[in-house]
Chain length 494, copies 2
Amino acid sequence: MSFAKLDELGRKLEALEHALAILGADEATHMAVGGGEKRAEAMAALAGMHHARATAPEIADWIEAAENEALDEEQQVALREFRRHYTNLTCLPVEFVERQTTTRLRCEQLWRDLRAKNDWSGFLPALEGVVALVREEAAMRAEVLHLDPYDALMEQFDPGHRAADITPVFAELKAFLRGFVPQALAVQEERLAKTPLRPLSGTYPVERQRELGLAMMAAVGFDLTRGSLSVSHHPFCGGVPTDVRITTRYRTTEFLSALMGVLHETGHAMYEQNLPQKWAHWPLGKARGMAMHESQSLFVEKQLGRNPAFWDWALPLVEQHLGEKWSKADILPHVHHVARGLIRVDADEVTYPLHVILRYELEQELVAGRLSVSDLPEAWDAKMRDTLGLSTIDTPQDGPMQDVHWPSGAFGYFPSYTLGAMMAAQQWAAIIRLNPGIDGDIAKGRFDMVTDWRHDNIWSLASSRSTPEIMKLATGETLNARYFTGHLTQRYGA
Amino acid sequence: MSFAKLDELGRKLEALEHALAILGADEATHMAVGGGEKRAEAMAALAGMHHARATAPEIADWIEAAENEALDEEQQVALREFRRHYTNLTCLPVEFVERQTTTRLRCEQLWRDLRAKNDWSGFLPALEGVVALVREEAAMRAEVLHLDPYDALMEQFDPGHRAADITPVFAELKAFLRGFVPQALAVQEERLAKTPLRPLSGTYPVERQRELGLAMMAAVGFDLTRGSLSVSHHPFCGGVPTDVRITTRYRTTEFLSALMGVLHETGHAMYEQNLPQKWAHWPLGKARGMAMHESQSLFVEKQLGRNPAFWDWALPLVEQHLGEKWSKADILPHVHHVARGLIRVDADEVTYPLHVILRYELEQELVAGRLSVSDLPEAWDAKMRDTLGLSTIDTPQDGPMQDVHWPSGAFGYFPSYTLGAMMAAQQWAAIIRLNPGIDGDIAKGRFDMVTDWRHDNIWSLASSRSTPEIMKLATGETLNARYFTGHLTQRYGA
């Protein structure tokens, strides 16, 4: 039976993915510094074995044959995802993929060096090479997937999202934020004029912060028997669903950023931990995509962790672990601090979407060939001045050289961040409709109703439906900006 | 070119071995408890991929063809080890290996349960099944390798060691120990009567013990940029040569056993860290065998760590880290404590070989079919009474059910422990001949001369020669019991 062959293949691929995931997490947390070269060799070889197995020509025959087999409904959905996966993996010629891998790697290495030196002109030819190949890739994928070129790229990260749907939503959001950012800043200034900020600084030993983080993870719903918290240079969520590795980094003079990072990664981790185990070795069993994943992390960080009600419950826990008493009036100005800035990863939830929409607009132009790479600094600067009133014309390192995404060839990824933020707000609104008193639960550290809803409406579906379909089923409608703008207005408005 | 194909195969196998080694170490140190089942599945699948690749029929043709290629001397030696490896891996029919794997696994699981219950008769049929298959295995390997059956089993662990060479050496050692153990115990008793033992107990926080262990590892020659120290239930040395993972376990009331464990694993680790890197992906580049490996760990633990001169240097370090002042007169009675006991892993260096020789004698009889499994308890008890004056007739859990080796089918492994102890003493004697004042170096914490000798004479040879050949080249002669008996006499005699 051909479906059985796909099932068996899935188990082999899962084993290799397991190894790659744990080796990757281990590299960032426990590997000896001298082990890097051999680790890279081993992971490259394992990734090669995975690719060779996942793209073997006979798989096409198995998929074809399985479509004529008597499959139950679950198997039929699994087969659809096997096909989607296989098509996306095999639609580019091997020769092209190799050329692209080399070009991207070289550009990414150059980026690490030249970004620090603010050297745009040295970097330009390498990025031009990457963009040229991205245009080729988009055209090839578009043909196979019967999609527009940019949609075909987004499809790799977020099955089902189309620029035609997203663009008007982003336009509405951008128009809103253009007026709202100055308003939120004015509200903040007025409040700070009345009540000066109590600085967050203190002395918070790493071990105590870690215990606090673990206590919050457990309370929010992270299963500590199937995951762990470590330290790494850049926080991440890795590992496998039965052993999710999340990390953070600590400063002993300040606790809030590590803690918010832990909550964010906890959101990613809970999605992974709660995917249906019986589907774990099928593409169907994977998380749906990057926007949905980001909605889960942002949900825990923003909808829960930055919710004032959360701090009714959290502050005694902070005091218990760190020995310092904070009032909500002390902490919330930090939790809700808004600032115009150049750097996306440092941005707050109000200004963050403007960074993303800028990139979304520019990368569509780049992929379509309507914008040349050499014109990026001016185009970036114009949009930054327009939306945030800041210029990057003399600092391309904070402009088009800011992120690793483009040098590494990840075009079509950026929208996921803001789609995730909007989806999280829309999910939260759906929960409030069902349980208007949910803030009372949160203030008591009771997260089960929230967890149950997310389990039933998001996690348990895995990849059985597209992102827009999951949103429609879960919240009654597809993406709608008003939940997110409503959320911002309530939290940051006058 | 066929040699190039073997070389390329070696890189693929190395990547899978890398994954298995790190996943194995991770499982015992950092894995979430709930991750075990999926980890086992992943490792079994990866091991299966490794076996399938390493035993592919075309490899026989490559080896055959490579023998007619123009190879340099290094490649010729590498090819010999490729062949040895391939022959040992493929000389049993797949059907037999599968039957054996199932039988061993079931016996080992039963052993974990029934040893605790001291239930020999429940365990007997399972062990009989394992022994029956071991006899078959030995016969098949013997035919292919042109060796005696027991030698063919030992060859898996220790290439080049033959029972005909080992038996007289063990007989000499046994005869010596029969007289020496009572003598050493009398000496100890007399000394303790004069100077009562200062108990080792105190309060030693784990973090301080860990720092002390790391300081000693580094001083002895462990490369901390290519390895690390963690905690696990059973101490081990795992990982890969560029990232060796050693572990220990701590008791906060006592520091010596964890420290000696760290030194022992450091010995294993230094062998791995110093294997020639350019051969890392060939069988030639692997450590020579279990006896040689054990000689390296015991060398660091016994020849260095239990050497009185070592404590001249070590005691100030202990004081610095643990804040407690010990004199050599205080510590050496603990470091050199001798006791008759039933349990091999708890034995000191004087009595340990008697445990091993007992098993060596019995397993030869078992493999040859001259002893039936049902007669083991009596045979074990007779030998224990004969050599150590202790009986196990009522406690088979401390007799033939004591170790995991037999239930798991590892016949021919036990001699490695005592061969290693003898080889370490013989290596140490060779070093003393070159540098009679070496204890003066050790007392100052200078280990470079010792390290250089071990590097040049043991580690850099990897698997380029057999164990007896390496010993002959390094020390001027093959295995000779008198270095070990001389070592014991000097340390524990009157």
